[in-house]
Symmetry: C2
Subunit: 376 residues, 2 copies
C-alpha cells in the first residue's frame, strides 16, 4: 500500500472532441493570478539589487514572491516540457539598463501579468506541476525541492506526446496534413496582419504624441496671441471677444494635452495585445515544424516497409502517434482561436470605448469654448 | 434756377464724435450685394473668353454684370480717391493659368464677394459715386459715361482730406501723434498675429488633408486585413467579431474622409477671414505713413515760422488739416475695430461650431462601430 503511494502517478493529458473539434480538458473554474507590488530587494549585503514581484493565485489567495529570473526559469521549464505541442510565448524582454526605473518596472509588471494570465488560461499549462509550484510553493525549501524536481523532469521535447490521450478515433494522415496546412497558413497570415497593425499603430502613436499635439498647441498659442493683440486696441467693448478668443486658445492647448495622453488610454492596449499575439504567433512555426516532420516520416512509412526497414505494425504505431499529435495541434489551435476571439473582441471594445470618450470630450470642450462667444 | 441745378454739389464727408470716438457717418440701412452666377462670355468673335459675374445690390435688387477687370478698375479708382485716408484692400490675385477652372472661378467669386461686402460695409466707400455706379449703372452708355467721369475725378490722393469735415473741435498735434503711434503699433502687431495664425493654419491644413487621413486609412485597412485573416480560421462562431472588425476598419476609412474634407468646412473660413485682414492690414502702413509725414510737417512748423518761411496763420491751418486727418484716421480705426470684432466673432463661432459637429460625428461613428462588438 505504501509502495503504491510512492509510485508517481503517470502524467496524462486528455483531449475531448467537442462541437468545434478537439479540445483540451478545461478545468471547471479558471485559474487566475495577480502580479503586483514590485519591491526592490538585495542580496550579498546589498551588493546585488533586484526587483521582486508579488504573485497571488486565485486558488490559494496567498502571495508568493518571484524575481524576473524565476519567471524566466519557469518559461524555460514550460518550453522544454510543452514546447513541441504548445506554443509558449516568450517573456517580456530582458533588459539591463534602466531596470530600476519606475516606468520600466510598471511596464514589465504589466507584461508579466499578461504572460501569467495567458499561462493561467491554458488548461494544460495551468494544471502542470511546475506551474502550480511557481504559484503556490509553501516556503523556500518547498520551492527549492520543486525546482530540482522540475529540472530533472524527463518528459521533455516530443516526449510530451506520449502523455496525450485523445478520446477519439485515429485520424487519417491525409486529413492531418490538410489541417496542418490550414493552421500553418492561418498563423502565417495572422502574423502578417498583426505586424501590419503594429506598424500602423506605432506610426499613429508617434503622430499622436509628437506632431499633432504640437500643432494644436500652436493653434492655441496663435489664438491667444491674437487675443492679446486685440486687447491692446483701446476700443471699447471687445472684452467678450478677447476673453472668448483666449478661452478658445486655451481649449486648443488642452486638446493638445488630451491628444498626447490618449494613446496611453487606448492604443497602448491594442498594441500590447497585438504584441502578445506577435510573440505567440512566432512560436507556431516551431510547433508546426515538429508536426510537419512527423507527417513526412509517416509518408515515408510505405517505402520503409518495402525496404523491410519497419514492420506494418510499426507503421501503424507511427500513424497513431501522428494522429495524437494532430489532435494536440487541433486542440491547441481551438484554444488559440477561442482566446483570440475573446482577446480581440475585448481590446477592440476597450479601444473604441476610449476613442468615443476622447472625441466626445474634445467636442464638449469646444462646445464650451463656442459658448464664450456672443451671438450677434 | 437752372444754372444752380447744374452746379456740382461739393463732396462732403462728415465725421461725428460718438461714444467710442470719431465715427464716419453711417447710413441707416447697410448696403449689401451678392456676387453670383459666373458665366463665360466671349468677345471678338470668340477669340477672347472671359468670366462675367452677376452683381446684385440690395438697393435696386437689379443685377449688373462685371468682369474681373471691372472690379480691378473699381479698385484702382477707390485707391486713387480714398487710399490716403481709407485702406483699400487689394482684390483677390490676378491669375492667368487655370482661369476657367471651376474650382478657381468658385474661389475667386467667393473672394470678390468678400471684397464687395467689405466695401459695401464702408460708409464712405459705399456712398461714393463710383461705387454706386459700379453697382447700379442702368445700361452700357450709363456705365461708359460714369467710367469716364470717375477717371477724370480730381479729388485724389491727399485731396480727399479737403472733403472731410469733422464736427468737433481741433485736436492738439501731440494727441494726434500719440493716437497715430497707437494705431501703428496695433496694426503692426495684429499683422504679425494674423500672419502667425495663417502659418499655423496652413500647416494644419496640410496635415488634415495629407498625413492624417492617410494614417486613418492605414488603420482602417489594417483592421480590415486582420478581419479577412480571421475569417479564414475555419473556427465556428467568429462572424460577429470579423463583421465588427470590418465595420471598425471601414469606420476609420470614413473618418479619414471626414478629416480630409473638414478643413473646407471650417478652417477655410478662418483662413479666408485672416487672409482678408492680412490684405487690409497691409494697407495701413501707407495710410499711416501719410499721417506721420503730416505730423512731421506740423512739428517743423515752429522752425519755419522762426525762419519766416510760413506765417503763424499758415501754421494754424496746417494743424487744423492735421486734426482733420487724425479724425479721419480715428474714424477709420473705429470702423476697422468694429468690423474686426464682428468678423472674428463670427468666424470663430463658425469654426468652433463646425469643429464641434466634426468631433461629434466621429464620436457617433465610432459609437456605432463599438456597437457591432458583442459584450462578453
Amino acid at each position: 500500500l505504501l509502495a503504491k503511494q510512492l509510485t508517481k502517478p503517470k502524467e496524462k493529458i486528455t483531449i475531448y472532441v467537442g462541437e468545434v473539434g478537439p479540445l483540451w480538458s478545461y478545468p471547471e473554474s479558471q485559474l487566475d493570478c495577480i502580479v503586483a507590488d514590485p519591491k526592490k530587494g538585495s542580496k550579498m549585503y546589498g551588493l546585488k539589487s533586484y526587483i521582486e514581484y508579488q504573485v497571488t493565485p486565485s486558488t490559494t489567495n496567498r502571495p508568493v514572491n518571484h524575481r524576473y529570473k524565476h519567471f524566466d526559469w519557469l518559461y524555460e521549464r514550460l518550453l522544454d516540457k510543452y514546447g513541441s505541442a504548445i506554443p509558449i510565448p516568450s517573456l517580456p524582454d530582458k533588459q539591463v539598463t534602466g531596470r530600476f526605473e519606475e516606468e520600466f518596472i510598471k511596464m514589465r509588471m504589466e507584461r508579466l501579468q499578461g504572460w501569467m494570465t495567458r499561462m493561467c488560461r491554458h488548461p494544460v499549462i495551468s494544471n502542470s506541476e511546475v506551474f502550480q509550484l511557481f504559484l503556490s510553493y509553501r516556503d523556500e525549501k518547498d520551492w527549492k525541492m520543486g525546482k530540482r524536481k522540475a529540472e530533472k523532469d524527463e518528459t521533455v521535447g516530443v516526449m510530451i506526446f506520449s502523455t496525450i490521450e485523445p478520446e477519439a478515433v485515429d485520424l487519417d494522415p491525409i486529413e492531418v496534413e490538410q489541417k496542418c496546412e490550414l493552421f500553418s497558413r492561418f498563423t502565417k497570415s495572422m502574423d502578417d496582419g498583426v505586424k501590419d497593425l503594429l506598424n500602423v499603430g506605432q506610426e499613429h502613436w508617434k503622430r499622436c504624441t509628437g506632431a499633432l499635439p504640437k500643432e494644436y498647441q500652436k493653434i492655441g498659442k496663435a489664438l491667444q496671441s491674437l487675443s492679446t493683440v486685440f486687447s491692446t486696441s483701446g476700443y471699447q467693448g471687445e472684452a467678450t471677444l478677447t476673453d472668448a478668443l483666449t478661452y478658445a486658445g486655451k481649449t486648443y492647448e488642452e486638446i493638445a494635452g488630451l491628444v498626447a495622453e490618449q494613446p496611453k488610454k487606448d492604443l497602448h492596449f491594442l498594441m500590447e495585445t497585438n504584441n502578445e499575439y506577435k510573440g505567440l504567433l512566432g512560436c507556431f512555426p516551431d510547433t508546426i515544424g515538429v508536426h510537419k516532420a512527423a507527417i513526412e516520416k509517416v509518408k515515408e512509412g510505405d517505402k520503409l516497409i518495402a525496404a523491410n526497414k519497419i514492420t506494418q505494425q510499426e507503421k501503424m504505431a507511427m500513424a497513431k502517434r501522428l494522429s495524437t499529435m494532430s489532435y494536440a495541434l487541433q486542440a491547441e489551435m481551438n484554444h488559440f482561436h477561442s482566446n483570440r476571439i475573446y482577446d480581440y473582441n475585448r481590446v477592440m471594445q476597450l479601444y473604441l470605448e476610449q476613442q468615443v470618450k476622447f472625441y466626445e470630450m474634445i467636442a464638449e470642450k469646444l462646445r464650451q469654448a463656442l459658448g464664450q462667444f456672443t451671438t450677434m
